[in-house]
Symmetry: C2
């Protein structure tokens, strides 16, 4: 009868061996105390001490277990840091002070860029990347989990796209009250990701659930449904060359009908908004302007805008801004009054540490177009800029 126990022991061993092939032993001990002032990044997987962040100096300490490598570096915000190996085979380095917010980074193992497996995997630059979060003080509370308010749900759905001939994935935020009001209908915000990211970006990197929960609980924003889709990233044979027009068809012909069939939506232009970040801002303009019978609220966060189009035209000589205002997007701005009457909100935002669309905004305003312009102080083309943009944008919708 000992046989059974031996078999069982063997099964444990087998399970452990099968788990170990992926290298749990190489993950290395996690128990070392962190240096004074450093705490594990909010992006770390459970038990992982590194990357560790000093909230005061805004420096990051990295530690990578790689006993057999010849050279290990961290590639963070366009600077490479050489790491130093200790006697156990762990490599460490400490970064320069960073801007607050979320940053992607890579580990270079003998020059090969890989994920640091100590953090969650974030889809960026068209593959899974590591991320580190430099924490803000209380001013960042709006995107953190608040245990004292009701929480919405982010629902993961797959649906069949006739247009693409494949199943597509979409994440849909519903407000906390959605379940408690089984007949109430809600307005919908279509919220697009940027280049190289996907439908999970807004919830993972952007913490949109916490932001919306907070705005709705404080009655700053009306309860709404927020739809986050993969756009053309899972359809286009080369997303880097994708025309923005294709995605319009996906949104209008595939996604919107599916959402309106599946959720209790207020299915008219006065209750539909679209916004996007970076490339998703460009997709917002190219989707909304030709479809103003379907959308009356829009936002472009650090987005491609006037004078700047996808598809290789970036190097083309610029028309002057006045012409630009009159001719962009098939002349949608030409008749300012007509535009203002139809579009309830045109929201344009940027970080002050990235190139600004302010001149375009000024030209639009001069022409009489109503624009809400938001600048995120001190932030670049990164997620903190977009969290702040959403936090400013959502309260202005559907009112």
């Amino acid at each position: 009868m000992k046989k059974i126990t031996l078999l069982m022991v063997a099964l444990v061993m087998c399970a452990i061996a099968s788990a170990q092939f992926a290298g749990i032993q190489q993950r290395g001990p996690q128990e070392e105390a962190l240096p004074e002032g450093f705490k594990p990044s909010a992006t770390n997987i459970f038990l992982a001490q590194y990357p560790a962040v000093n909230a005061t100096t805004r420096q990051v300490m990295f530690r990578v277990n790689a006993p057999t490598a010849q050279k290990v570096q961290i590639d963070l915000c366009n600077k490479k840091y050489d790491m130093v190996k200790d006697e156990k085979g762990a490599w460490t380095c400490t970064s320069d002070p960073q801007v607050v917010g979320f940053h992607y980074y890579a580990v270079l193992i003998d020059g090969v860029p890989v994920m640091d497996r100590n953090t969650d995997a974030y889809f960026g630059s068209n593959w899974k990347s590591s991320g580190v979060e430099i924490p803000e003080g209380p001013e960042g509370d709006y995107y953190r989990f608040n245990k004292n308010i009701p929480h919405g749900q982010i629902r993961s759905l797959y649906y069949w796209s006739e247009l693409n001939g494949l199943e597509r994935h979409v994440n849909v935020y519903v407000p906390a009250e959605y379940e408690q009001n089984p007949t109430k209908k809600y307005p919908v915000l279509y919220l697009l990701h940027g280049w190289g990211e996907d439908e999970n970006g807004w919830s993972n990197q952007g913490h949109m659930g916490n932001i919306m929960d907070g705005l709705i609980a404080a009655q700053k924003a009306v309860p709404m449904i927020v739809v986050m889709e993969s756009g053309d990233i899972k359809t286009n044979p080369d997303v880097r060359k994708a025309a923005t027009n294709d995605v319009t068809q996906i949104y209008v012909k595939d996604l919107m009908p599916f959402i309106e069939k599946t959720f209790r939506t207020q299915a008219d232009r006065d209750h539909r908004a679209m916004a996007g970040l970076s490339r998703g801002g460009g997709q917002t303009t190219s989707t909304v302007f030709p479809n103003m019978d379907k959308f009356a609220w829009m936002g472009t966060f650090s987005g491609f805008f006037m004078g700047m189009r996808m598809g290789g035209n970036n190097a083309a000589p610029a028309p002057d801004m006045k012409t630009q205002v009159e001719t962009s997007f098939n002349g949608v701005f030409k008749d300012a009054k007509a535009f203002n009457d139809k579009m309830h909100l045109l929201f344009i935002s940027t970080g002050t540490a990235e190139n600004s669309p302010k001149a375009a905004v000024d030209a639009l305003k001069e022409h009489g177009i109503k624009v809400v312009f938001h600048e995120s102080q001190g932030t670049a083309h990164e997620w903190l800029t977009w969290r702040r943009a959403l936090n400013e944008f959502a309260p202005r919708l559907f009112k």
Copy 2:
């Protein structure tokens, strides 16, 4: 006015540069045609051709771009494959024939185990790993997306745990009809992950959504809610030494009240089930047996069971199986009639290519305990075994 366009061009360049630091250029060209018979693995990120799988020979071709590395290997199912470098710096190899189903693997860059960034990131072995899927024929349709049936939703929720003093994440599957029946209440299956995995395993690696959608659409299973939680993985300071008792408290005191407050559940023992795979099977027995006033249906898939306990006792001498049956789990099986009267389903499953609990099952049966025993032919301690287990288990619930 050319300044604006130049600014805009700079912004594009900046966005692209910021995206490139994580190495999109190093991802390498994806346009090469695959060798005859090979197709991209179902686990690949969009556009990624490799890993590529030959469904007939069940071999996998890997390709890793690593021009600066000295040695690159693939570590798949406990075998290391040396890769060969081409003139562009891409390394390739072809594996031996594999068992059908999902397998984790790692890339070794100069001996350092990292993710292959061509696949989605799956949480396994306590960190993010790559995975490859060796496809089955039509017999695998039950876990694939079926465009002709209604689909449930997997809802991502965060809730505050007083017990842990932190927010916890849970995924909850609701059947397609849930929204259409705003007053109907549903039975609940608590479905646990295994060692080194997390609350996303059943939906990502296990395709539980597709499995449940299919069973419910075919009226093989009753519509039910399925709750997938992280267990103790995000609470315990050393999950590898965790006592299974702790997790019981999380389930019974934190999770169940939250689920029953948030969803329309039939909140009694006749409509509550728990099942888990591997270590989650052990957690199922240690949670359900002392709480048979709360659960009447249970399953342990490749799970730790009689004679085999967590916490370092695996090497202890085995009692004989008759004693085991009478004393295990505080003697829950001793009075077979009493057990059978109370427990509507005790389901135990295994793969035939892993060590089997059959002897324990036989001893239980001999003692008069009603057990449903399922064997997955030809599969090991892996996800295909557990997809099949769920597909056999769920139809037997709540009937």
